[in-house]
Symmetry: C2
Subunit: 371 residues, 2 copies
């Protein structure tokens, strides 16, 4: 049996360890839940509801009845009836030409018919996210997380009516209080060092600041965490659990689009990431590549705002992934990538986190003169 | 009696708590040592050796025989006989004019004769730092820390011959290994969120990375730490002690150059700092002000490299401090400034850190099922 890591929140959700694993891969999410953590499946790479339903059916068949959650990207502000085609039409031609020229420079081939959008971001469109939520609420998920902003009031209400807890990511105490006013149950404090969308306040400062700001709401610490000692640190900061995303990318269950990308992640150091607007239009930490450098170049057009940038680059990113263009190939990932230096199973990662946590507690007790 | 916080390193140095307090103010450094921590006096604002000697005489008279240390800024590379005047001559006239115009725009008065350089950085000149070390080695200091790069080999040797431990700050594992090869005894892992010179890797990731890189050398965690729960987090990450700088700025013993600056620090939030080259030429975290914004402005000349920038702005910073120009008034400080919201004595801060540490350990033991 693994050593315990129990908080009020982990007991409430019925999991052994207060470890929340966010991942776009159902096989990883299910393995996290089976190993005693709480798997959270990212919905953003699914299309509308029916496609997500297949993913959730799979989760039901593979989590062995253990609790799990879903992460959607749902804007609180209604933009009312804006379709993907409407957004596509807002992208300047100059940006499209610049992207094509960049791909040509690196010799990235075109996609074949039917290959389109291995990299998908349509989950960010409000109508897609809404149809995902409609589907998700028909499944026995225990948590609905919103990755960007507070979820809309009616969604919070419908989730609560089904006994589903609602979480939202925050990069500042102000965001966290806004979430609290929106009626959510859990705040994920996402530090500067995290992969994906981040603010500028580091986990060490952000976590206790948000814990104090939204007390008594439970807070999960996110950003820079990939070992048991870091789990202990995050919990020491007052969190009721740890939210990890990056570490699962190099698990054997992960389904990365390219072997070359796995190798790149395994080789990268903590200094090889950058907070860039290249992928989504908002600052998101990812591997630094010649792709992110090109978007920083003052001579280039620079990134468009969300959601335009994501639509602009969707095909380009798919092409780079499919043809494994080494200079451009990247992924959202946090500074913890420096520690991700071997492929392991999800169960081994969980085991390592809980055992490392135990060792850290023993060491702390010695320092405090208690053991 | 305060609860304990003992590591191998704190025992070796003969202090009760593994809390290392860096400060430019002798009254603060002495109070830290008297309260059971380890005070480290920053030498950079002193001039050559004789001026520093007065500071160290004062320390001897006020530390009550408790151990303390000194922090110098000594480049490892010899630049050979370069004087302050030589460096002054390398500053372009365009930069001087731009600074004068900026001060005029905000109506900052000239300094009176004799008021010069309340803000001093001459300690960064190699010959000044060397004369400081010559003086320091005649005092019973227990630690000599180098704030920028590895200390020169002969200095490490002379310090060791007197039983003085040598520490150096590092922002990456590569820097830390370089320090280790230079024969130092302690690495201070200075995270992105720290005040003053920082790299881009956050404390959560940097600390364990450096602990692993230089094992078995002891590592101090620095950056973002100002509460007992953050002390527990830093120690959980494998550090043998915590290095704090920012939190002492708003202690009652601190001798800030301006009351308005104290008020500004007390009012600032964690998002009110910026990593800027405006003060020294190297990226240093400080309050974000219209001064730092002006140096970021692409229409301006941008900062010069170290040590030119520090010399260029020394008088300007003194004038801003003396006349308390609200828009421009700033200070090096870390993201923890958001938590610095009341003036307290050094002893109260230490008390708060050790009691908060105890509470964090108790909570962690409960999570681990040990209490």
């Amino acid at each position: 049996m693994l050593p315990g890591m129990e908080t009020e929140l982990s007991r409430r959700l019925g999991v052994e360890h207060a470890i929340f694993g966010f991942t776009p891969f159902p096989a990883v999410a299910a393995a996290i839940s089976r190993a005693g953590g709480f798997g959270v499946l990212g919905a953003v790479r699914y299309g509308a509801g029916d496609e997500l339903a297949r993913g959730l059916d799979w989760m039901e068949a593979h989590t062995g009845g253990r609790p799990y959650g879903l992460d959607v990207v749902m804007p609180a502000k209604k933009v009312g009836g804006v379709s993907e085609a409407d957004v596509e039409a807002m992208i300047p031609d100059g940006h499209r030409t610049w992207v094509e020229d960049l791909l040509a420079k690196y010799g990235v081939p075109e996609l074949a018919e039917g290959d389109r959008a291995g990299w998908r971001i349509t989950g960010w469109m409000e109508e897609v996210a809404r149809s995902q939520v409609d589907v998700a609420l028909q499944y026995p998920i225990r948590l609905l997380a919103n990755a960007l902003g507070s979820p809309p009031a009616d969604v919070v209400e419908r989730a609560h009516a089904r006994g589903i807890l609602v979480a939202a990511l925050a990069g500042s105490a102000r965001h966290a209080r806004h979430h609290q006013e929106a009626g959510i149950d859990i705040v994920v404090a996402q530090g500067y060092e995290a992969g994906g969308h981040t603010g500028e306040i580091a986990t060490m400062v952000l976590t206790p600041e948000i814990v104090r700001a939204v007390d008594p709401l439970p807070v999960l610490a996110a950003g820079g965490i990939g070992s048991g000692e870091q789990v202990a640190a995050g919990l020491a900061l007052g969190a009721q659990g740890i939210w990890l995303g990056s570490v699962w990318l190099t698990t054997t269950e992960a389904e990365l689009p390219s072997r070359a990308l796995t190798e790149k992640l395994l080789a990268a150091g903590s200094g090889d990431t950058v907070r860039s607007r290249a992928l989504t239009g908002k600052p998101a930490r990812q591997l630094r590549t010649e792709w992110t450098d090109a978007w920083e170049d003052p001579a280039g057009p620079g990134p468009l705002p969300m959601p335009l940038q994501g639509l602009l680059v969707a095909d380009a990113v798919s092409r780079i992934q499919k043809y494994e263009t080494p200079e451009l190939l990247g992924s959202p990932v946090g500074q913890i990538v420096g520690r991700m230096d071997e492929e392991r199973s999800v169960a081994d990662v969980l085991d390592d986190l809980t055992r490392g946590f135990e060792r850290a507690i023993t060491r702390l007790n010695r320092i405090a003169g208690r053991e």
